[in-house]
C-alpha cells in the first residue's frame, strides 16, 4: 500500500489482478481527492437541504415569504440566523457546482473525442456554471427583493 500525504491512493493486495500506478501529484490527483471529500461533505449538506425542502416541507408550500425568512429581504441587516443560511447555502452551492463541473468534465472527456468540440463544450459549460453560481451567491447575500413586488403583494 502506497500513501501520499494522508490519503491512500494505491493498493495491491492479493485480490488485485491489475496493479495500478499511483497517480502523480498534479491537477488530476487534486481533482480526484476533491471529488471524494467534497462528495462526502455534500452527502450531509445536499441530503439535509433535500430533507428540509421536500420531506419536512414541500415545494407546494414554498413562497417568496418562506425564502425571505431564510435569506432576509434586500436592505435588511443580517441576523445570526440569516448568516447561518448564507454559510450553509453558500457552502452547498459552491461545493455542488465544483463537484458537478468536475464530474461533467470527466464524463465529457470520455465521450467527446474531437478536441475542439470538447474544449468548446467545456468553455461554454464552465462560463454558464460560474455565471449562475455568481448570480446565486449574489442573490443569497442581497436578499429577497420584496420591494420589486411592492412588498404588500407578498403572500
Amino acid at each position: 500500500m502506497t500513501t501520499a500525504g494522508s490519503t491512500t491512493v494505491h493498493s495491491v493486495n492479493r485480490r488485485t489482478v491489475r496493479p495500478v500506478a499511483p497517480p502523480r501529484n498534479g491537477f488530476e490527483r487534486a481533482a480526484w481527492v476533491f471529488m471524494r471529500y467534497s462528495g462526502l461533505v455534500l452527502v450531509f449538506l445536499a441530503l439535509s437541504h433535500w430533507g428540509f425542502q421536500h420531506i419536512f416541507n414541500s415545494v407546494q408550500n414554498l413562497t417568496l415569504e418562506s425564502t425571505a425568512g431564510r435569506w432576509g429581504v434586500t436592505g435588511q441587516i443580517a441576523t445570526l440566523q440569516i448568516w447561518f443560511w448564507r454559510v450553509y447555502y453558500g457552502l452547498l452551492l459552491g461545493l455542488a457546482m465544483l463537484h458537478g463541473l468536475n464530474g461533467l468534465r470527466q464524463v465529457v472527456y470520455d465521450y467527446m473525442h474531437f478536441k475542439p468540440l470538447y474544449w468548446g463544450f467545456m468553455t461554454v459549460s464552465t462560463l454558464l456554471i460560474v455565471a449562475v453560481s455568481a448570480a446565486g451567491i449574489a442573490a443569497l447575500f442581497l436578499g429577497v427583493n420584496i420591494a420589486a413586488v411592492g412588498g404588500a403583494a407578498v403572500r
Binding site: 500500500m1 490519503t7 491512500t8 494505491h10 493498493s11 493486495n13 485480490r15 488485485t16 471524494r36 471529500y37 462528495g39 462526502l40 455534500l42 452527502v43 445536499a46 441530503l47 433535500w50 421536500h54 420531506i55 414541500s58 415545494v59 407546494q60 408550500n61 414554498l62 413562497t63 417568496l64 425564502t67 435569506w71 434586500t74 452551492l93 455542488a96 457546482m97 458537478g100 463541473l101 464530474g103 461533467l104 464524463v107 470520455d110 465521450y111 473525442h113 454558464l128 456554471i129 449562475v132 453560481s133 448570480a135 446565486g136 449574489a138 442573490a139 443569497l140 442581497l142 436578499g143 429577497v144 427583493n145 420584496i146 420589486a148 413586488v149
Partner: protein, 140 residues
Amino acid sequence: MSTLFTTVRDTLRYKGREGQWLWVLHRISGLGILFYLILHIYDMSLAYFNVPVHEQLMALFKTPVFSALEMVLAALLVFHAVNGVRVALLDLRPALWARQQLATRLALIITVVIAAPTIIIMLIYTINAHLSAAATTAIR
C-alpha cells in the same frame, strides 16, 4: 460520432456486472442533478434579480409534470449520494475492496430503502396540494 457509438455500445457490452452498472448510473444521475442544480440556482437568483419571473417559475415547479420530475430527481440524488459514499469509502480504504460486491448490493438496497418512502411522502404532499386546491375551487 463513430467514437460515441463505440463508447455507448461497449458500455452496454462490457461485463462489469453490478459495479459497472452503478458506474453508468452514477454518471447519468450526476449529469441529471447538475442540470437541475443549474436550473434551481438560476431560479433562486431571480428572487433578487427578477422577482416576477421567479414567481412564475415557482408556479411552474408546482405543476404535476415538475412534481413527477422532482420525484425522479429524489431517486437520482439519493442514489448518487449512497453510491458516492461507496465509491469514496472504497477508494480511500482500498482494503474494503475485498467486499466490493457486497458494497454494490448494499448501495442499491440502501438507495431503495431511503428513496421509496421519500417519494411516497412527496406523492402525498403533491396529491394533497392539488386536492385542496380543487376543493377550494369547488366551494367557490
